[in-house]
Symmetry: C2
Subunit: 205 residues, 2 copies
């Protein structure tokens, strides 16, 4: 199975532009994570509602942080960032909810697995503009996590087409991509190239 | 009945200090609104959980904006700020939820009443440090809203002990206070003085 693609929005676009981009690219990605931290809740709700109304499949849409918006929209998944809502309490109240969780270590990956998270997002893996001046997390950890847990693993941080091949050995479920898509001159072209590389790597054994 | 007091936190304290202050002052106020916008959701959850564990009555605790935290804590009320979650959708999903809503005009007050909001918070009423450079809303509107709606009305913005008497004519349900409490050298003294003035005004006919 090809490595999955999650597009993570970067809070740099007005709602109308972001909707246009997401409606173009969503057929080429498996997940869209809405991470619009500076927009107030009402705007994020409206943005997501329009995406769903225009046909973005509900199962692809992951709200970052705002479980309440996900509930209002009837979504069955949410991405909880670090310092976000407590995963165990969320799972108690919403046992069927699929929760994505960031991890930075083996311990955090074990914890995410033990609370039943749908995936662990490990990063950042490579230098990237959105984490300027911060050292990437060691890829050796990623290997250790893969070998010692069963939770689906996504890599994030500086994911570019040229780097995908180097991640193949980690048996990832997928990669999450922000800058390479949303800072690209043409997000649709960027997504298509990422998707092509994912499919090409699938065929290499 | 004496005018009610809502203490609105100002996001200026570390959690431990804020908990200490709130545990001191809550017996003298009717509501506590947690408005800690720069703290991540997990910290706000933890802060509120500790307040409840230490004995702050759940019915006094209004989360600002974060319906999801309110749900995790089992709270039955929430304050939705401007540009927050859509009130009608919230009421559809949670018919018994008590929702507080800010209003700046008669039209907004009518809308808040029509969706079944528990109160309308009108302001800001007086010049205040947290709204520097912005003109206060006309008090004439407050009178018009009071005379032409039935929604419980709270005034906010620059509420000080000396100004409470001037608000008596508006037949408010209460006042919401941020700076006069949380910027005071001694928040407990400040709350007691506000409470005393509310009680004194009640006796004047």
């Amino acid at each position: 199975m090809a490595i999955k693609l999650m597009a993570v929005t970067d809070d740099a676009y007005e709602a109308a532009d972001l909707i246009r981009i997401l409606m173009e690219i969503h057929p080429y990605v498996d997940h869209v994570q809405i991470r619009e931290k500076r927009k107030p809740a009402g705007k994020v709700y409206q943005l997501c509602k329009e995406l769903l109304d225009e046909g973005l499949p509900a199962h692809k849409l992951w709200l970052n942080d705002r479980m309440d918006i996900a509930l209002l929209l009837g979504l069955k998944q949410v991405h909880i960032p670090g310092h976000g809502l407590p995963l165990e309490e969320l799972k108690k109240l919403y046992p069927d909810l699929r929760i994505g969780a960031p991890v930075h270590s083996f311990e955090e990956a074990v914890q995410a697995e033990s609370v039943g998270a749908a995936y662990a997002l490990y990063g950042h893996c490579f230098p990237t503009a959105s984490k300027k001046g911060k050292s990437p997390q060691p890829l050796a950890n990623l290997r250790y996590i893969r070998q010692n847990t069963h939770i689906p693993l996504y890599a994030i941080g500086g994911i570019e087409v040229e780097r995908l091949a180097s991640l193949k050995a980690f048996e990832l479920e997928g990669v999450a991509v922000m800058s390479s898509i949303f800072s690209a001159a043409n997000p649709l072209d960027a997504v298509k190239k990422l998707r092509e590389e994912c499919l090409r790597l699938e065929e290499i054994h």
